[in-house]
Symmetry: D2
Subunit: 344 residues, 4 copies
Amino acid sequence: MLYFQSDYSQGAHPQVMEALIQSNLEHTEGYGLDDHCRRASEMIQELTGDPNCHVHMMVGGTPCNVTLIAASLKPYESIISARTGHSYFHETGAVEATGHRIIAMEGIDGKLTPDLIDLAWKEYEDEHTPLPRLVSISQPTEIGTIYSKAEMTALSQKCRQKNLLLYVDGARLGCALTCQANDLTLQELAQLCDAFYIGGTKNGALFGEALVIRNAAINDHFRWMIKRQCGLLAKGRLIGVQFEALLEGGTESLYFKIASHANEMASILRGSLTELGIPFYSDSPTNQIFPILPVPLVKQLRRDVSFHEWAPEKDSRIPIRLVTAWGTQPSDIQALLTAIRKLL
Amino acid sequence: MLYFQSDYSQGAHPQVMEALIQSNLEHTEGYGLDDHCRRASEMIQELTGDPNCHVHMMVGGTPCNVTLIAASLKPYESIISARTGHSYFHETGAVEATGHRIIAMEGIDGKLTPDLIDLAWKEYEDEHTPLPRLVSISQPTEIGTIYSKAEMTALSQKCRQKNLLLYVDGARLGCALTCQANDLTLQELAQLCDAFYIGGTKNGALFGEALVIRNAAINDHFRWMIKRQCGLLAKGRLIGVQFEALLEGGTESLYFKIASHANEMASILRGSLTELGIPFYSDSPTNQIFPILPVPLVKQLRRDVSFHEWAPEKDSRIPIRLVTAWGTQPSDIQALLTAIRKLL
Amino acid sequence: MLYFQSDYSQGAHPQVMEALIQSNLEHTEGYGLDDHCRRASEMIQELTGDPNCHVHMMVGGTPCNVTLIAASLKPYESIISARTGHSYFHETGAVEATGHRIIAMEGIDGKLTPDLIDLAWKEYEDEHTPLPRLVSISQPTEIGTIYSKAEMTALSQKCRQKNLLLYVDGARLGCALTCQANDLTLQELAQLCDAFYIGGTKNGALFGEALVIRNAAINDHFRWMIKRQCGLLAKGRLIGVQFEALLEGGTESLYFKIASHANEMASILRGSLTELGIPFYSDSPTNQIFPILPVPLVKQLRRDVSFHEWAPEKDSRIPIRLVTAWGTQPSDIQALLTAIRKLL
Amino acid sequence: MLYFQSDYSQGAHPQVMEALIQSNLEHTEGYGLDDHCRRASEMIQELTGDPNCHVHMMVGGTPCNVTLIAASLKPYESIISARTGHSYFHETGAVEATGHRIIAMEGIDGKLTPDLIDLAWKEYEDEHTPLPRLVSISQPTEIGTIYSKAEMTALSQKCRQKNLLLYVDGARLGCALTCQANDLTLQELAQLCDAFYIGGTKNGALFGEALVIRNAAINDHFRWMIKRQCGLLAKGRLIGVQFEALLEGGTESLYFKIASHANEMASILRGSLTELGIPFYSDSPTNQIFPILPVPLVKQLRRDVSFHEWAPEKDSRIPIRLVTAWGTQPSDIQALLTAIRKLL
């Protein structure tokens, strides 16, 4: 079986696993108050170029999104997201469970734009309407596209003009930062937003994400919020240990090598499928690609390949999602291509 | 000043006021457990043709919508509404405050359709997405249009097919039922939905709405829900007294006369404005009409007439909302028409 | 039948009703943005001696308590209340519905003390425990007792020392302020707390309470909070009209006369019952008294008198609650005493 | 440094770690829909003797408690817990964050009793009070005590009589089941309650708990609830893998050996401290013991030993908590005893 269904189908990258093994018998404080978490946080402060940012080691992406949003808003405030954005699309209403509306906008290439912010804003009038206060985006988006430096800057400016906080879900941030199309550095991203997270689960960790809060107001009593939102891990150091292993070496660290590798594997696949004349659902330069394939091919491909059907059938074709990760080998790519060529 | 801003700018219809005065010194049980509420409920059971439906005397429309929805849903379930629907548009996120998403759809003439339900349903996949469970509509809609018997029947069938509850906000239900374009009786409406409310505030009461629940499962411990959602009035009998006065005489009662009068006033206005060549924002047969007027005229009209600008300026014209009510006199209509003619 | 069950069994005091009748045909802005609400607010600013306090005309006591608390707290903060306090005891969890814990303490004579605050505070440790932030009390308490000036001052100082907001539920505030045992003025009360409400429903109004917020931070976007908590009345002016009628004349106004009358009626009753050797459940100087009567007497008294059994039977006796109000006549008191004497 | 602060200061038991290493490169479905989770669930169904119970692999104890409670209750329902119970005491209001009250009772030896349930029930009257619906206890309790078979049976019967669900937090369930004082089997426990969890974090796992739901009504759409409460782990198999390793061999499995070892270590410590004449805060037969030590001794002991001060100083003595775990060695116990003897 060839695995292209997700970037979280295997355990941890062997170097991350090794760090967990090495530290296993240590005794530390619980709940993330240990030296591993402290060092990992410092590494992140250095990487983002902001020694004053606050870093929290979080169990997963949903706890990041929900806790950050719940901590940022007053009860009558709302969120703006693309309809395909993770907070809206794939959290089972966990954000609304904290009492806040998400205004869902039809994104463009999976992205929000300043014009879409203005459009969402039109729903706001006065005390009869919730007050938009936070814009939630993903980098890369759920369909693999990325915000360019110019796009992110324009969005950030629109947010500041409208008194909106900007939050970036970075579940696959490594892939955005290391893809060839990218022109936005981590430091620049950090400066343009109020908070974001550096995803571990989908980039070599067993689990865990590093939430970076640059806006001190949001960080007030944030650990109380993490606990209240069910996200405080007893052996919190596990996340710190993993991020130490992932980020050792800074810009030359395993974290970026893993992401780069995943992008490269996807890039080879994309190139070969393009040569075969196969169209794509989105113009993704990162580790998720969405070829649109004939229905019979998709059905037959299922026998040997694990993948996700992304959208409903249209004109006898279906967009599927192929995801690469640290464990994807060049031979997996070639085997997949061989299988597709045979079925075309 | 001419008042066309809302149908709740005056107090109660004099007959309703008289009933409050007559009963003022009575001693009764609190919280709606009195004979006035009981009698009003029975009158409503008779009017709807369902002796088993449950009726609750509610303080206002928001408490109706929010309590009904919160009582109907499990935590992971969501609501489908038109983006212009009251639950989404004008409740300051009070529904989301109870932890539920509203999937906002672009309505057609302010209405939901079976196709829009199917479209909303596409957001649902599995445990990663909230489960749609209730469709919330208004009759008439916020832009004055009404669901025909065929439309309501189709919507109801789609809901049953999808295991969706159907709830109807009837803030101006009297105007829907009594307008010339209507072909849907109160009994038919009741049979097609799980719950609805008969609006009092906008049809002659000081305040108060009668919430009718036909689905017994929703009604379980409903009084606990009303209290928890801040909606249980100490002197609950006040609402019962008002509905007794409004509904005495059944289909010939004050409630329908008031609504009919408001419709007739709006109808005269609509006809005359149409003759003047003025276009409308919606094809409303009820007591709210939305003429699209030139911007300078709107500005000047403000000096003598109170009204609401409904949507942003477009091509130098603005849709305004003119609302008629029990207190609107034919002379008010003529004065308004004179004012508009003068400014055209 | 003699009515001593509650102070909300009748409609409005005739002078309040008259004000509603007089203003009934006026056209005004909705949602409390009218001149009646404005004037009533100014009257209250003057009465409290704080021209900068914010006044909101609220539909009822539960909306006051819940909206005020929800607007005051961050998600991880909690409330301290007596176990018999209204927010805890009789709101069906409406406060917890907004996501906050109430730490319920066994009050002393229905009251909280600085020591009880300290005791509640012991539940607080760190990010694993909610942070107490607001103390909720009633003046008078649910068992009719009142905080003396010294007690309220001590509580207020403890709150400020602990960074706790102090909120006073004044459903029967008139009776506290006008009872003989009272030594705390309205101005002093206002200065000692962050917010309180002046109850209308139980002191002559059809419905409505005036919520007074002295702490500007709590008042931020408060109207959004009222709407979100289902408490914004369309014809909001109704509450303003009633408070104008109640408060016209300031300290000599109907509001205080009504309260004084209720206290006087209760006082006569208390004196006569004491003479009969009947003990009381609480030492209440206000309009609720709690004689402890033999079970057979209570059962027989029910035939002619409406009242509430307050606590479970103990030693063959039951404490009952007798409540007086603006409509209670001296003849009612005499008839009740006659009935009790006959049964003793 | 000697570590007696918690049973989660180290990583995983080496055999659990080994299982994670062995399975690390496998590709599996995400979110707990894999064979490891399936097998672990089956092992638990067998252990509990209930092939129909539903098992969910959860990230931690707070997600277990909060998700189970939120899934069990209607909005107006409440929970009964000891004031020292984990749901009340150490979850930062995470339960109340889902909108439900916890009625906090002063437990006896950290335990609830049928009488305390009756007492809590007295707070319930009618639609003005939340309806108690779930009793939340821990086995062992937060102070190490355990419910005997007779006590648990009596509690369970009281719950069924009152239509209350019974939920057992089993963060340290292994220690309860394997301690010498215990007379309640896992199967019996399962039959007496509606849901419970088998704690992994504090008994050899890196993280993870197995939530067992015997009441099918609670299990309805439970995976939606887990996701909504932020508790669905992407690489959910990690928890399954660990429980497979822990439970392989059933009643002879590592899980019970670990717990037994921790109990034995605590037992030696308890015996020796008793011989030294040191009193205890609770009569705990499990892996947490609470000797009450002189303040100066506690201060000096801190230099070499890590532990938690449990309660405030009283009569110049402080109860401290000493916790043993799978990693506690007999030499650690002897070293601790030596340190204490030296300071006495």
